[in-house]
Amino acid sequence: MDSSLFQYPVSRRRVLQLGMFSAAGLMLSDWFTLKASAAVNPLAKAKSVIQVWLWGGPCHLDTFDPKPDAGYDYCGKFDKPIETNVKGIRICQMLPRLGQMADKYSLLRGMTHGNNAHEVASYMVMTGTKPVDGVVNPSVGAVVSFKKGYGAGYNGLVPPYVALTKPQGRFSEAGFLGSKYQPFSTGGDPAKIPFAVEGVVAEGITDARQQSRRTLLGNLDTFARSMEGNPLISQMDKNKQDAYSLILGEAKKTFDLSKESEELKTAYGKTTFGQSCLQARKLVEAGVPFVTINAPGWDTHKKHFEVMAQKLPELDRGLSTLLQDLSDRGLLDSTIVWCGGEFGRTPKIDWDAPWSGGRGHYGKAFSHLVAGGGFKGGQVVGVTSSRGEEVIKRPVYPWDLAASIYELMGIDPNGTLPTPDGKTAFFNSLADSKVKVESGGLLREIM
């Protein structure tokens, strides 16, 4: 097929005018677009993704989709949103630094999937698939690790999928791809010096002692010598050599934050979150294709506003400095920054005890932020109702977002991956005609 003929067979605007459409019906148009563009990937600009995962579900009203006219029962004390440097876009008053750089990112205010359970919602947003029986899909990070990691052009010593600092925890990120594609969780705390990355940086063991231990181990591996030629043993030997190149070699420097300027570290914020953002930039700089920052604490059932008063300034510092730093280093064009959680929070505030001003889970409408790697800045995709209770224009489903990220990464979202039973499976619900999903289409308007 001459792909250029099918590049954009349907006007994006027309699809948008139709609003929400189902996979069974109008999907055909997007299907063609998807099929055609996947073959050439004219859009693929991104080399890496930094996913800032706000675990627990941050409130859309109090971050990227403020509703100051909804009244106190919806806004609480955050009722004075700030104008950003892009005319017409306002965000929460607690995010002034991000407000100064709205031209660098776009806001997805139409995020929706309708599920209010952490584990199912996390699964949908992190994998870009709707749950079906018999298969657990890999997260976007695991797919990128498969498609862009070892054996696919990446040769770095640092693993291709890194989680700062802990794994996600509510489902297995690798899904059916198996533990080889799990993220490498660093452990430790990047806000401490040294950042004790599990396995890479051991406190209190000098390089000299590492060397003498290594010699001792080599001399005592009697069993391995008796099994020479066994493929498992040979692999383990090779793994030891590779491990030592990490421990004693260059790769260790990727995790060394001590050489970064004090000014920059302060700008990021000297917290675990802030320094994780800095570390993520260093990893991307070293070529790592997918980094997830698992930032907990957004599940604000109780005392929501007190918690947000702590968390928002930290997010504002870390994320804005990350975008600026990537931009200053010329990395933003090739790095997707993707920030959001598994859902939003109930727009109406529960003022009564025991919640004392809390917000529950809300999967019907929420917001994500995307920047870089081919995503345009200064745009808003989707509109929610006057109280942020539902998406009234341009919904974005998790599979729409994931497929868009795949495209920018040069990964065909219509492709398949091998499953443990020797077959193949789709990894995005838009591609799988057996799975019925609603869709708002890919994020073409900002790609």
């Binding site: 584990e119 996390s122 699964y123 749950p131 079906v132 029986d133 018999g134 298969v135 657990v136 802990k166 794994p167 925890g169 509510r170 489902f171 297995s172 059916f176 198996g178 533990s179 080889k180 799990q182 490498f184 969780s185 452990g187 004790a196 599990e198 396995g199 890479v200 940086v201 051991a202 406190e203 209190g204 063991i205 002692r209 590492q210 003498s212 231990r213 001792l216 181990l217 001399n219 005592l220 591996d221 009697t222 069993f223 008796s226 099994m227 030629g229 066994n230 498992l232 043993i233 383990m236 030997d237 793994n239 030891k240 590779d242 491990a243 030592y244 990490l246 421990i247 443990p420 039973d421």
Partner: protein
């Protein structure tokens, strides 16, 4: 010439003193296996030594490293059939049930959260029921019947949870798991026609669920009013067992009972085959039919006679699974050395030498904890109800697949997502190596845990330390050469204790430690 003879003699003696013996048939398994091996041209390796045997049988059967005391006693014993006695002993240890409950919880997808969504209370009671069934050595047919036919509350009638870990609770999804777990058949590979599958689906057509007033309680029951229609013809589908005739049931009959009757009957061609093949796979690292959960006509067994013999033993032994374990463990086939001979080194599929493989994630961390006298801290992400797990509890007893740790993830513990044996990944990776070599997690256990500190206090001389560290970590005594290397290292270290800790660290990092061999 005389000198050469002396050298040869010394070589032979030193090999024999390690306990190497030529394998002779011990039971019917060996007769069948050795006959097949002479056909394929891969003669068996020698028998493994006693030291290797005790470590192997502990790790394979109870997922537990033997203590130095157990190793010493076993090695010192002069009882001629001490291996048989040791097998009987491990089969009676509590850890037998602990370890196999772990495997059954993998197969039955026991986890609180996505995609099983059993919820913590149900996970705890379900795992406890499985554990007790194994402790009491419940006959396998009864165990499966209980899982298939129980009705009641997920909190109070634990086996009903068999019907719960599905995102969509359709008869087809239930059939899919039932066929995989109890028949070793992957529906997608089975070659069964849609009509055959519909007939099998119908056994689960009346399975129904209802909520109660208790938070997250759910009752599983058989609803006489529920029916299944053929989606093509819109006709009522009646239960038809595979290769059998339609089963006539009264309006109030629970078709699940009829299914259990059919499945667990001695004539059923899948039931016994699937479980004996699984046990063989669990102990030998490869199924007679391989993979162990992919039974189909075009995947023939390595030896049909061997499989048939084990099936017959299971049925005649009234579905006593320990009987099958005992037969396999007592065979010379199981007790072969892992070191191949020049004649059998090319053998991939034929059991001519023991297959080396990495310790399961849970077993590995338990072994490190045992050596270092430390525990692991686990906690559930679900706040209510709060799941408390004492640090002293072993990881093999961790009931909930949703409770994770970076270590367990890294070492391929199954996600409990598919019921496939391959859900567990015992492969090796650089990150595993890094973690044991250099993580603060393992370093802390070695350097700060009470286990090794106590050992060093109790054995003041370097020679005693070296011997004891070998026994505790590798379940054997060091060779002379190893002892010399270790003693030289300790002597050259800036402090004797540092040298000893480094030795412990090195032994834990050998492939001998992290592999079953």
């Amino acid at each position: 010439m005389k000198r050469l003879a002396t050298v040869v003699l010394f070589f032979v003696v030193s090999v024999l003193s390690c306990g190497a013996e030529t394998a002779v048939p011990q039971n019917r398994i060996d007769q069948l296996v050795f006959a097949k091996q002479s056909e394929t041209g891969f003669p068996p390796s020698e028998l493994c030594s006693d030291a290797i045997f005790i470590r192997r049988v502990y790790l394979d059967v109870i997922g537990t490293l033997p203590t130095s005391k157990e190793v010493r006693e076993f090695l010192a014993s002069k009882i001629p059939d001490k291996r048989r006695l040791l097998i009987d002993y491990v089969l009676e240890r509590d850890e037998f049930a602990d370890y196999w409950a772990l495997k059954w919880c993998d197969l039955l997808r026991v986890k609180s959260e996505f995609p099983s969504n059993l919820w913590p209370n149900a996970v705890q009671t379900y795992q406890y029921w499985i554990l007790n069934a194994l402790r009491q050595n419940m006959p396998y047919d009864q165990f499966v019947r209980a899982l298939l036919t129980t009705s009641g509350s997920n909190f109070r009638d634990p086996p009903v949870n068999f019907y719960r870990p599905f995102q969509e609770r359709t008869p087809r999804n239930i059939l899919d798991t039932t066929a995989l777990v109890f028949m070793g058949v992957r529906l997608g590979n089975s070659g069964w026609s849609e009509e055959q599958m519909l007939g099998m689906d119908a056994f689960f057509a009346k399975v129904a669920y209802k909520k109660t007033d208790e938070w997250k309680e759910e009752v599983v029951y058989s609803d006489p009013d529920k029916q299944m229609l053929n989606p093509a013809t819109k006709e009522l589908v009646v239960p038809v067992p595979l290769g059998g005739k339609p089963i006539k049931l009264g309006a109030d009959d629970d078709p699940r009972a009829a299914f259990a009757d059919w499945l667990t009957s001695p004539e059923n061609p899948w039931f016994s085959k699937a479980i004996v093949n699984r046990i063989w796979f669990w102990l030998m690292g490869r199924g007679i039919i391989n993979e162990a959960d992919d039974i189909r006509p075009d995947n023939p067994p390595w030896s049909p006679e061997l499989l048939a013999y084990l099936e017959k033993e299971l049925v005649e032994g009234k579905y006593d699974l320990k009987h099958i374990y005992r037969l396999i463990l007592n065979s010379s086939t199981y007790q072969l050395s892992s070191i191949p001979t020049p004649q059998n080194s090319a053998d991939q599929a034929g059991f001519s030498h023991y297959r080396v493989r990495r310790l399961d994630a849970e077993v590995l961390i338990d072994a490190i904890c045992q050596i270092t006298g430390t525990g692991e801290e686990y906690s559930s992400a679900i706040p209510e109800p709060f799941t408390f797990i004492p640090a002293s509890q072993r990881t093999i007893l961790l009931a909930d697949g949703s409770i994770k740790s970076p270590f367990l993830e890294m070492f391929g513990r199954p996600g409990r997502d598919t019921s496939l044996e391959s859900d567990r990944n015992n492969g090796v990776s650089v990150f595993q190596t890094l973690h044991i070599l250099n993580s603060s997690h393992i370093q802390k256990k070695i350097m700060k845990g009470p286990g090794l500190r106590k050992l060093l206090t109790l054995s003041p001389t370097p020679r005693e330390r070296v011997n004891l560290l070998y026994l505790v970590i590798l379940s054997r005594t060091p060779t002379q050469e190893e002892q010399k290397i270790a003693l030289d290292y300790i002597a050259s270290a800036d402090q004797v204790d540092n040298g000893s800790y480094d030795l412990a660290w090195a032994l834990i990092n050998t492939s001998e430690f992290s592999l079953k061999h």
